[in-house]
């Protein structure tokens, strides 16, 4: 291949990669701005626009894949510019098109398109119809940003998009108390674990002078080599693992996932069956060279992944509603995937992610029709289908099985432990501080001689 051809291919890839980001982002603006101005688009227009955005993104990703194939899947780094710079600190918008990112964009954009098609019918005349699609396109934009990120800054930006869209979709039915509680629980977990990625970003900036992955590791995925010293690699790897635990619902941060099924079915499918739950795995795959340079972090990941898989398999086997069962099934697979990554495998977890995401999102999308499906199956078979349930508990001796059953019913006491040892003490501390503040203000300000106004406050000064 001549140099001129290589240059042309680079330009083509750069344009296509930009399109993969710009298409969902433009859709977000096209449906979000009219809604903000009080004139939301009609349902059909909304779904068509969103569909067109994801289609454009998908086609751009497919074409990028073809262009990359022509170059033997060597990585193409696309520099879109510098957002801002102060002294030696520069926030660059760097994207990377390689054998990991582009197929993943094809897969994620395709799934988003399918969910858009499903949700257009499923949420017909729902009061939050436009809101759902705004959040879906926000998620799609964030997902592509995170997957194509060529620097930890861009990755963090995409990661944040995922977090907020996930939170708002869990609380989509905001009039339900459970939905609001579940959304807050998920957001608190995200926010806590996001600190890992944020600090990792700062550490990377310190270590290599920029957030670009090119300076953190070199080579084509999955054979990249880490460029930082082992200590820095260990710190960054541990922080990345911490960040991944929250998004991928791993023990001890897994309690939010079953509650997250409070959201609409299409969003549950794409978030907790397919893409969001694997965001942590993707980040670890992207930074696999750092994990390779920090075996301790890898072993920690294996331990947590296997622990979560066992926990979720046991707890999931006693769930009585379909969505909770599917949530725990997702958690089990996410745990196994993280363990695979920790073991140093690269292609296996990637295939596992894609296959699990497709299967699980199909199951979640069909879950509202499960009874209908069963009746149809029964009619076709001429009788009820046989019980084909398998439970890990049945393999154990009776006494031990019963004990484990009780533990499983309590979801492994994980929620209770987090509540007792983390949430309650922190809240008690803060409530105590607030009470002390209030007493101090009352002491210094004295009693109010006038009746406290509780009616409308015009704020007259």
């Amino acid at each position: 291949m001549t140099e001129a051809t290589i240059a042309v291919l680079h330009d083509v890839v750069a344009t296509l990669v930009t399109w993969q980001l710009a298409a969902p982002a433009a859709t977000l603006a096209a449906i979000g701005l009219p809604a903000l101005l009080g004139r939301p688009l009609a349902e059909r227009t909304t779904t068509r626009l969103v569909g067109a955005g994801f289609t454009a993104g998908f086609l751009a990703a497919l074409l990028t894949l073809a262009a990359l194939a022509a170059r033997g899947f060597s990585a193409e780094v696309v520099h879109l510019g510098t957002l801002f710079s102060v002294g030696h600190h520069a926030a660059t918008i760097e994207l990377v098109a390689d054998g990991l990112s582009v197929p993943y964009v094809c897969f994620s954009t395709g799934l988003c398109w399918l969910v858009n098609a499903f949700a257009g019918k499923y949420l017909h005349r729902e009061p939050g119809f436009t809101r759902f699609f705004i959040l879906l396109t926000l998620f799609g934009t964030g997902m592509n940003l995170m997957v194509l990120a060529g620097s930890i800054d861009v990755l963090f930006a995409g990661w944040e998009f995922l977090g907020i869209s996930s939170t708002l979709l869990i609380g989509f039915f905001h009039e339900r108390r459970n939905a609001v509680g579940a959304a807050l629980r998920a957001f608190i977990t995200y926010r806590l674990c996001d600190m890992g990625l944020l600090i990792a970003g700062v550490v990377v900036h310190h270590a290599v002078g920029s957030g670009d992955f090119e300076r953190l590791f070199r080579g084509t995925w999955p054979d990249a080599v880490c460029l930082v010293d082992p200590t820095t690699a260990l710190i960054v790897a541990l922080l990345l693992v911490f960040a991944a635990l929250g998004k991928s619902a791993q023990v001890p941060f897994s309690g939010w996932l079953p509650q997250a099924m409070e959201g609409p079915t299409p969003s549950s499918a794409i978030f907790y069956g397919a893409l969001s739950i694997h965001a942590g795995a993707y980040v670890l795959l992207r930074c696999e060279a750092v994990l390779d340079a920090a075996p301790v972090a890898g072993w920690l990941l294996v331990a947590i992944g296997i622990g979560t898989a066992l926990h979720a398999a046991v707890v999931g086997s006693v769930q009585t509603d379909l969505k909770s069962m599917l949530a725990y099934a997702s958690m089990t697979q996410a745990g196994i995937i993280l363990a695979e990554i920790g073991l140093g495998l690269r292609i296996v977890p990637l295939v596992h992610v894609v296959s699990h995401a497709i299967l699980r999102s199909l199951q979640i999308l069909r879950s509202p029709s499960a009874l209908h499906d069963r009746h149809e199956l029964a009619a076709a078979l001429g009788g009820p289908p046989g019980a084909a349930t398998f439970s890990i508990l049945r393999l154990l001796p009776d006494r031990f099985g019963r004990c484990l059953y009780r533990i499983a019913l309590e979801r492994g006491f994980e929620d209770a432990a987090v509540q007792r040892f983390v949430i309650r003490p922190v809240l008690a501390l803060l409530e105590g501080a607030q009470a002390a503040e209030t007493r101090l203000v009352e002491l210094a300000g004295g009693a109010d001689a006038e009746p406290r106004r509780t009616d409308r406050d015009g704020g007259a000064t």
Binding site: R176, V441, G459, T461
Partner: protein, 481 residues
């Protein structure tokens, strides 16, 4: 005086005079016209003049412009990068408040106080003369105290505010006098100058609501009208004073600055943590404002350009975003009374547009990508970690708590079962315009921050240059080189 300097002087005069003239006009005309029109026009003129001043300053190679009597390196009229940044910011905040204010809040007395308050703030932001700063502190404290006192149910807050501000003003006046008598920035100064430095630092901490002098800050949001609370707190006059009197003379007051910055860091984390357990929307805005403004002070005490840039960016981004949240809360309160957030209020169905604005301003205040606060947080966190590890960690913890508090607040105000027969709270066009302007600035500067950050870098460089060159001369009439 060169033509650009004459233009800058004209802009400064216009910035201050326009609200004062409008206040007088409103008083004279009484109920004959809606006070909103002259108030908005006057603040609009101030905004245009402030933008003009910023443009001229940036076109003049960033040299400070001093006019009138000078003392300790500060001119009566003192225009530099900080002024060029803050004047438009203050005018935008005031304009948004005037546009969103409910009709009954714009009674003649109320709007006059608001306009006079705006003029005082702008006058403060254009001077570095220590005596002028002390006088302006006194006038603004008195004006605010009267405003809070006249608010129904605001007496306890006024009492607390009065106590705190009396102490702050006394410390400020005495400290400034001692610093001028025995300048600590001159080598070999005695205990008098050092005491002065400490007193000014304490004054700044009280007026900023820095731990342990912070209790009046959330109380002001609970007791005063939201207009008063926002006008008083969002410009961050105490931070400005700290820059002029402490940061500018950092070599002489290094220990004081360290204490102030460490206390500010603790306040940033503590305020954000307290915001998580607030029981009212006003308490939420108050504690968040306390936390974010403390972060600005902590960042400005740093010595790295990146940290200073981050602090200046947080100053503007958090100020605009929290003003937006405060105005949404005010708009809701004017329709349905005070908003508790210890249980779900279910206001989404009644006020979907206000819910959207609350959420967007909330995201814009917590470092969401695509908003100015993302840039600000990136700079301040990286800068803080560059300088001190624990500072960076505290900033990150503060950001985490603030995020949780904002989202909790949003869900608690708008989530939950609504009242079936509740009236629809349709957003008014002037409210939509004001909130959209604030949002457009936050998102516009977030998506295309390059020129803004470059201008912040120049401001930071000028602040660091003042520090490095040890500007004040031995004589009280010292002029910066």
């Amino acid at each position: 005086m060169t033509p650009p300097e004459a233009i800058m002087l004209g802009c400064v005069s216009l910035c201050i005079a326009a609200p004062l003239v409008a206040a007088a006009a409103v008083r004279l005309l009484g109920e004959r016209i809606s006070p909103r029109l002259p108030a908005a026009t006057a603040i609009g003129v101030s905004l245009a003049a402030a933008c003009g001043l910023a443009a001229v300053w940036h076109s003049t190679a960033g040299r400070p412009f001093l006019f009138g009597p000078r003392l300790a390196g500060g001119g009566l009229v003192h225009v530099d990068g900080l002024t060029a940044l803050l004047l438009p910011y203050v005018a935008i905040v005031d304009l948004a408040i005037v546009l969103v204010a409910p009709r009954r809040a714009l009674a003649t007395a109320g709007v006059s106080r608001l306009l006079i308050g705006a003029a005082i703030t702008m006058a403060t932001m254009t001077t570095a003369h220590p005596a002028a700063l002390v006088v302006l502190w006194g006038v603004s404290i008195l004006s605010t105290w009267l405003a809070v006192r006249s608010t129904l149910g605001g007496r306890p807050a006024a009492r607390l505010y009065g106590l705190a501000m009396t102490a702050a003003l006394a410390c400020m006046a005495l400290g400034t006098a001692l610093m001028l008598a025995d300048p600590p920035w001159i080598g070999g100064c005695g205990s008098v100058g050092a005491t002065g430095g400490w007193l000014v630092a304490i004054a700044v901490m009280i007026r900023k609501g820095i731990v342990p002098f912070h209790s009046w800050y959330p109380a002001l949001f609970s007791g005063a009208s939201l207009a008063t609370a926002l006008v008083v707190t969002m410009p961050q006059v105490a931070t400005y004073t700290a820059v002029r009197l402490l940061v500018g003379h950092a070599d002489g007051v290094a220990t004081e600055l360290i204490v102030v910055s460490q206390a500010a860091l603790v306040t940033a984390a503590y305020g954000a943590a307290l915001a998580v357990v607030q029981r009212s929307a006003r308490g939420l805005v108050g504690t968040l404002a306390m936390s974010q403004s403390a972060m600005v002070l902590a960042g400005l005490s740093g010595t790295l350009p990146m940290e200073l840039c981050g602090a200046l960016a947080v100053w503007v981004s958090s100020g605009l975003a929290l003003t937006g949240i405060g105005l949404v809360v005010w708009a809701l309160e004017s329709r349905a009374g005070r908003i508790p957030i210890d249980f779900l209020q279910g206001r989404f169905a009644d006020a979907p547009a206000l819910a959207a604005f609350f959420l967007l301003f909330g995201l814009a205040s917590l470092g969401f990508p695509g908003t100015l606060s993302f840039v600000a947080d990136d700079l301040i966190i990286s800068g803080s970690l560059d300088e001190q590890l624990h500072a960076g960690i505290l900033v990150i913890v503060a950001t985490m708590f603030a995020g949780i508090a904002v989202i909790r607040g949003w869900f608690h105000v708008f989530g939950g079962p609504g009242t079936p027969d509740a009236p629809q709270h349709v957003i008014l066009p002037r409210e939509r315009v004001a909130l959209s302007i604030l949002l457009a600035i936050l998102i516009g500067l977030g998506l295309y921050p390059g020129p803004f950050v470059a201008s912040l870098e120049r401001v930071a460089a000028s602040l660091l240059a003042v520090r490095e060159h040890h500007l004040p001369s031995p004589s009280p009439e010292g002029v910066p080189p």
